[in-house]
């Protein structure tokens, strides 16, 4: 079976700087895949490339067998706002909640492409059950939420469109260890119970590899290691460079 997301030899440049160099990777349907790497390795750039927010200088990206991003001159990439309709949802780094809007309005925005009001209301109730704290704060402006609550809100907002695949950019960044554990617990449930494929980008390598079945390691814009997460956890290089052992 063809992978759900397949990235083939993509290169991304910011001016003269090459942020990604011929990166290839794939994510299978139903899987949790982790991408680890240091600050500045190009992790966020890779996610932005997948959702079409940075142009490709080379290579292509396919989702569900359809080429969605391309560097070819004669072909057109799918614009970001239409990509959402195809079932990809990104939870951006730093959460990017709509701070001046209430929790409920944020969730409404997550369901922007859903035209059935009844389905939206049902999905919102599901989210409030899944993240009870959001239910309690539904009428509050998102700026008044704590960092962990904002992260949960950003994840719930991404789930509102019932995506096939969710991309998470540093979901644990800047949060207390207990909150991070809680969020990773939820991510596991999203994958196992909601059957959403997860692509997880994390600096916290141990956490990411433990939560995933397959892992990639990105260094200076190139994939340097690709293996099952368990194998990466046992890998000497990974242990030395990312796990601090």
């Amino acid at each position: 079976m063809a992978p759900l997301l397949s990235i083939e030899n993509i290169t991304v440049r910011y001016g003269a700087i090459e942020a990604l160099h011929q990166v290839s990777m794939s994510v299978d349907e139903g899987d949790v895949v982790a991408l680890i790497g240091a600050n500045g390795a190009g992790k966020s750039t890779l996610l932005k490339a997948i959702v079409g927010q940075v142009p490709l200088a080379g290579g292509s990206i396919s989702f569900k067998g359809e080429e969605v991003c391309t560097s070819a001159k004669h072909k057109k990439s799918v614009p970001t706002h239409l990509l959402a309709a195809k079932g990809i949802a990104l939870v951006p780094e730093g959460r990017h909640v709509f701070a001046d809007m209430t929790v409920e309005e944020n969730l409404d925005m997550g369901a922007f492409l859903v035209r059935d009001q009844e389905a939206i209301e049902k999905k919102k109730e599901e989210m409030y059950d899944f993240f009870p704290i959001l239910g309690a704060r539904r009428k509050q402006k998102t700026r008044s939420l704590s960092g962990g609550e904002q992260q949960m809100m950003a994840i719930a907002r991404a789930l509102m469109s019932s995506p096939h695949m969710i991309l998470l950019d540093e979901p644990g960044l800047g949060l207390a260890p207990l909150v991070v554990q809680d969020i990773f617990q939820k991510i596991k449930l999203i994958n196992e119970e909601e059957k959403v494929t997860v692509f997880l980008v994390e600096q916290n390598a141990r956490l990411a590899l433990k939560a995933s079945s397959k892992g990639y390691c990105l260094e200076n814009g190139s994939i340097v290691l690709a293996d099952s997460s368990q194998a990466l956890l046992d890998n000497d290089k990974v242990r030395a460079a990312y796990l601090g052992e």
């Binding site: 959702v51 949802a89 990017h96 809007m101 997550g110 907002r157």
Partner: protein, 306 residues
Amino acid sequence: MTTLIQYLQYLLNGITLGAIYALIALGYTMVYGILKFINFAHGDILMVGAYAGLFIFTFLLGESTNAAWMLIAFFIAMLLSMAFCALLGMFIERVAYKPLRNANRLAPLLSAIGVSFILSNGAAWLFGAQSRRFPYPFDDTPISIAGLAITPHQILTVLVSVIMMVVLTVFVNKTRMGKAMRATSLDQSTSELMGIDVNKVISLTFAIGSALAAVGGILAAFDFRVYASMGTMTGLKAFVAAVIGGIGNIQGAMLGGLLLGILESIGAPLFGIPSALRDTIAFAALIIILLVKPDGILGKNEREKV
């Protein structure tokens, strides 16, 4: 000596003027909220709106003096003028601003000033230099209430402005596209991730702002007549009102407009400012606001939680 009644009269006139400023300020603030760009051609849109309204109104009226038809014709003219300006606003955005969206921040600003000159000079060339009177759609004899002289066109101005602002408030807070507009002004790239077509939202913003400017232009025409450069000073003052209220903030534009109108009307007699210097009041207020609270009255000091 200026008596209390006289001050109340100034206040009343100020509210009327302020309602017009508010309508126009909304266009500046909504566009700024999303694009962080001051549309300096916005004032000239109100001039186009006033001309369009005037021509459609006189055409519909013909020789008729029927009171009911006059009022109906006025509202039809207003709605058609709104539609025309909405299309014009979207067209201007498409040809003069959109291609410059990723250019230097100064480029769209200069482009806007260019559009402003094209519109005002074009109108002067097409319609001549002399100003035209905008006929009242009713007998505008002032009504005397408790010593105050209220003209029907003042009532119309306030009524129409309030309706427009209520409709706009409901739109941005309750409807799907309205919320998408707010989301886009808060965070454009995240809005895209939600599936919001940012280009469509920007077009819509220009359409709404320009339609409101058309209404503001028609209402302003009752007091200031219709002429090619009528948008310059009124537009500039509405911009000042938007800054005073907190640019980017919709409630701020409404509040800033109202305050500026009242200040202009009451300020002259209150502070003994000669009427020839009346226009300086707005700009003095702008300087004071910029010094004391640069973000405007309702503007927020944006500090992101990281």
